[in-house]
Amino acid sequence: MNRVDFIKALAAELSEKVRPSEIHQLINYYDEMIEDLMEEGYTEEEAVTAWLSKRTDPSSHRNGRGRSRDSSPLSSLFAFDFSTRLPIVGQLIVKCRIADPKLFNNHLVCAFHHWHDWCHYVYRWDRQRCLKSHADGGWFLSLFKSVRCGDFLIWFRAALPDRHF
């Protein structure tokens, strides 16, 4: 995804959840960050992806129940589908959690609860390709017990180096 598409998608998503006066500032802030990444040598697509992978600070999403506690502006507003490389927008609610890195062999792991088909998938992104698979492990399904239809879960490997993406 290029920067313009990303900004458009971001603006559309923000328009539903953030005060209008704040949207412009947020867009400018993240646009500037992406352009700075590009100045550092990232391609446009890499810069967008890098930002998406870093947009949530894992330490800010942990609380006693493992649910999202939003202290970053976008953590509950925006998601990214690594299989299509497109942003997920619409009515999905985003929840963030950190995966146990031992489970995922240092890959970024996202789990989606698709509202339209009630299926659970795990996406493993290992820089070269995206692997999508149905999740059938008990540990995984148990995480969804308290999640309403329409909710969305996403896990981030906590200690991936920035340059990994």
């Binding site: 947020l26 400018n28 802030y29 993240y30 500037e32 960050m33 352009e35 700075d36 990444l37 100045e39 930002w51 870093k54 947009r55 949530t56 600070d57 330490s59 800010s60 942990r62 202290s71 970053s72 502006p73 976008l74 953590s75």
Partner: protein, 108 residues
């Protein structure tokens, strides 16, 4: 590090970095991260808070054909650094000693 503790320290680190000169978001993330890991998303609310409390002020500057937002330390921001170094840090040192097993009498 504990999230709340980190949050407070990050604010001071941002102010301290700005003491060396005006800076922008990405540069702040890059230079503070080695000391205290921080993401762009974490920095945004910190900068907003600092701006709202008038510890920093902002201005736009043209950079390679685009506009970049710069942050500048204000007198209030400098005062916050001074307060941290003269009041908060000595108190934190006392708390550290106390946690390590010292008594309150030993602190003074």
């Amino acid at each position: 590090m504990d999230a709340q503790l980190k949050k407070g320290l990050l604010e001071i680190c941002v102010l301290a970095y700005l003491q060396r000169g005006d800076s922008y978001g990405y540069e702040l993330v890059k230079n503070i991260s080695p000391l205290l890991p921080i993401s762009e998303s974490t920095l945004y609310p910190i900068l907003k808070r600092l701006e709202a409390s008038r510890a920093v002020e902002t201005y736009n500057k043209s950079h390679q054909g685009r506009t970049r937002k710069y942050y500048r330390l204000t007198k209030i921001g400098k005062q916050r650094i001074d307060d941290f170094l003269t009041n908060d840090w000595p108190q934190l040192t006392l708390i550290q000693r106390f946690i390590k097993g010292g008594t309150l009498d030993e602190q003074s």
